[in-house]
């Protein structure tokens, strides 16, 4: 059946809770109402109030609580209501979740998932639109995953829940309900750490993830060239092999993300191409990104988001170089 990303999240959570009773879901407003985006709808009814829990307004305790549950052998899936409210818990990710296995030489670990909707485009107040994946992805020990399709969302979230490592699962809320595709009822995983080649092409490689994938595909449709499109899916540790192989083939590349330009993950991708494919490059890699400013408030945010016309123009620039 054709499902949205939100549905896919719900399916993954439901199936994993059903499959493994160590899975516990919690966060602000996730239980009684099913979350502000309804991602956790029905879970409390189905799995009860011990495994689906509304927490106090405590991002530190939600994230740190997940670390403790994970260390104790459970499989916590915590929700942070908006990624703009994850920074209070940055320390818990850096200082504990990401290094529990390392600190204890494998004796303890933190197999936990922190789900959080990120990105602009939903006409919200301050702090509801940011994309900080680049900062989190710089933390060793953490896996940062961003799906862009309903199918992948289900499979990746399942992999995240089963992952022995902590996973920060950032959800593209802008497209939570705007795209639909068939999402099988069966159990399947989409492996963490593998990028997807969405379209094969010879002329240029365009790399993106999350909500920007849709815009990228829309942009590519406007372009008269044979474009290879890669959905990175896992930001860190990323699938360097797929990225490098593609650019070695096409010789040209553009990276599209919503986060600010300076220090964004596109820089890491360019760095990787520099390391592994520099001499294949026929043109500079274009980074099509947000600007180095806070995301504007709702009345102006569209000037910030890399929309298809901008992306298409950038791709054409690279092709024309």
């Amino acid at each position: 059946m054709a499902e949205t990303i939100i549905n896919a999240i719900n399916m993954a959570l439901t199936e994993e809770m059903d499959r493994d009773d160590r899975v516990v879901v919690f966060g602000e407003d996730v239980a009684e109402t099913g979350g502000v985006f309804r991602a956790t709808e029905g879970l409390k009814e189905q799995f009860g109030g011990d495994r689906v829990v509304d927490t106090p307004l405590s991002e530190i305790a939600i994230t740190g609580g997940a670390v403790g549950l994970a260390v104790f052998g459970l499989r916590p899936v915590a929700e942070i209501q908006f990624s703009g409210f994850l920074p209070p818990a940055f320390d818990q990710l850096v200082t504990h979740a990401s290094r529990m296995r390392w600190r204890t030489r494998g004796q303890w670990s933190a197999p936990m998932v922190v789900r959080t909707p990120y990105g602009a485009g939903i006409r919200a107040l301050e702090h509801h639109s940011e994309s900080l994946e680049g900062a989190y992805a710089h933390v060793p020990g953490l896996r940062v995953v961003i799906p862009s399709t309903p199918y992948d969302t289900k499979g990746l979230l399942k992999s995240a829940i089963r992952s022995p490592d902590p996973v920060l699962f950032m959800e593209p809320k802008h497209i939570y309900r705007s795209i639909r595709e068939d999402v099988p009822d069966e159990d399947y995983e989409v492996p963490i750490g593998e990028a997807a080649v969405r379209r094969e092409g010879e002329d240029i490689t365009v790399i993106s993830w999350g909500a920007m994938m849709q815009k990228t595909l829309e942009a590519v449709d406007r372009i008269d060239a044979d474009v290879e499109v890669i959905d990175l899916r896992t930001i860190s540790p990323m699938d360097r092999e797929t990225v490098v192989a593609s650019v070695q083939k096409t010789g040209r590349c553009a990276v599209v993300h919503e986060a600010p330009y300076s220090g964004g993950w596109a820089g890491e991708i360019v760095g990787t191409l520099n390391d592994e494919a520099l001499m294949y490059l026929e043109a500079p890699v274009e980074r099509v990104t947000g600007y180095d400013i806070p995301v504007p408030l709702l009345s102006m945010e569209d000037y910030y988001i890399p929309h298809p016309p901008r992306i298409a123009a950038a791709i054409e620039d690279v092709l024309a170089y």
């Binding site: 407003d29 107040l125 600007y291 400013i293 009345s299 102006m300 123009a313």
Partner: protein
């Protein structure tokens, strides 16, 4: 699976303290039936008593009209302050010129009392960046990240001490905010600094769908003050005179170097915001109960028995307030579009080269890509 906490109490010899050892009274001047003891009534002039009433109507009509605007698509998501009128107005009325007020969006008339204009509050909820410029001109700010602005509140109070100011800084926040680490560090540090800060919690018993008893196992927020060595109080947040009177004392305490944790007990009788449907998570009964304790009606009884009601022409007042609101909406509607280059301003004091480059590029793209503006235009606006 949780242990059965209702089990017979554990046998204890040591001198344990629990919240049962410290019953917390709720300060009230006008009781639910509208009766009061004249000796307790704060010493205000008649116009001031009437003024409090007018401000509560402002708050109420503001909330109602904002939601209507939102339903008509002329406003982003907004929260309602229905039920909080006494708590908002009573606290705001006790502040003085020069005082600072940081809030979270559910304290409009307290900000209007600080000379913020209604137009700017409307602009705020429409996501117009300039709104906070105007708020901060009046030493007011709205912080969207819950609790995060409380350390800053402490810093402002600290600054007041360092500069021999005779003002106070007040932060308004909800019961949910009290569970944040930022709250804790802020209030504790204020205690150490003797900062002239009033931490004003509107305990409306809900944080979106989370009821107060899931927010904390403590019976009250006020008692938390003890843990920081600051003064705590719980006032009936639906009794405007109790709130006002205690807030006046809070201001004095703060000025004397005793920060205050103030809990106004009230109830959010509507949804958290226009995107929230409270029937999903709570029974109508409790709401009904609190609707009966309506702060405005209670204050009307007070005005009646005080002999001031005759001076009130409620319909005229409401009409007047409505007109003010309409004028503010008009002014907000007229507030012109901003230039896109404003997006790059104010990030840094100057425009670093990389921002200048990005701005130039954005302007070039907007000019050259003929479908970019069109694309943006077509995007849904709400």
């Amino acid at each position: 699976m949780a242990p059965n906490t209702s089990e017979a109490a554990v046998d204890l010899d040591a001198p344990w303290i629990s919240q049962e050892d410290l019953p917390v009274e709720t300060y009230q001047i006008i009781d639910e039936d509208g009766t009061y003891d004249s000796a307790d009534v704060p010493d205000l002039a008649d116009e001031e008593f009437l003024d409090l009433y007018r401000w509560m109507l402002v708050e109420k009509r503001y909330a109602e009209r904002m939601i209507k605007l939102q339903r008509r698509g002329q406003m982003g998501t907004v929260g309602s302050s229905r039920g909080h009128e006494a708590s908002i107005v009573g606290s705001g009325y006790a502040l003085q010129d020069g005082d600072w007020l940081l809030g979270m969006g559910r304290e409009t008339s307290a900000m209007l009392l600080r000379d913020v204009s209604l137009r700017d509050i409307i602009l705020f909820w429409r996501g117009v960046e300039d709104a906070q410029r105007f708020l901060t001109e009046q030493n007011c700010m709205i912080g969207i990240s819950v609790g995060g602005y409380l350390p800053m509140t402490t810093g402002i109070g600290w600054g007041m001490n360092l500069t021999d100011s005779d003002s106070v800084v007040t932060a308004h926040f909800g019961d949910g905010a009290t569970s944040t680490g930022a709250f804790h560090e802020a209030v504790n540090f204020a205690g150490v600094l003797d900062a002239p800060a009033i931490f004003y919690c509107q305990n409306n018993q809900w944080a979106i769908s989370t009821p107060f008893e899931k927010q904390t196992n403590a019976n009250t927020i006020a008692q938390r003050g003890l843990g920081y060595g600051v003064h705590g109080i719980r006032a009936d947040g639906n009794d405007v005179l109790a709130v006002y009177d205690a807030m006046r004392e809070a201001r004095k305490l703060a000025r004397a170097g005793h920060p205050v944790l103030f809990e106004a007990l009230t109830y959010r009788t509507e949804g958290h915001s226009t995107s929230d449907d409270p029937t999903e998570y709570r029974e109508r009964d409790a709401v009904e109960e609190w609707l009966e304790r309506d702060p405005i009606e209670r204050y009307e009884s007070f005005l009646k028995s005080k002999g001031l009601w005759d001076e009130v022409d409620k319909d005229a007042l409401v009409a007047e307030v409505d007109e003010e609101f309409s004028a503010a909406v008009e002014a907000a509607d007229e507030y012109g579009p901003r230039d896109v280059d404003e997006l790059f301003e104010y990030v840094y004091d100057d425009l670093p080269p990389i921002l200048q480059e990005q701005l130039d590029e954005m302007e070039r793209e907007l000019a050259e890509l003929d479908d970019l503006e069109a694309y943006i235009e077509r995007r849904p606006k709400g």
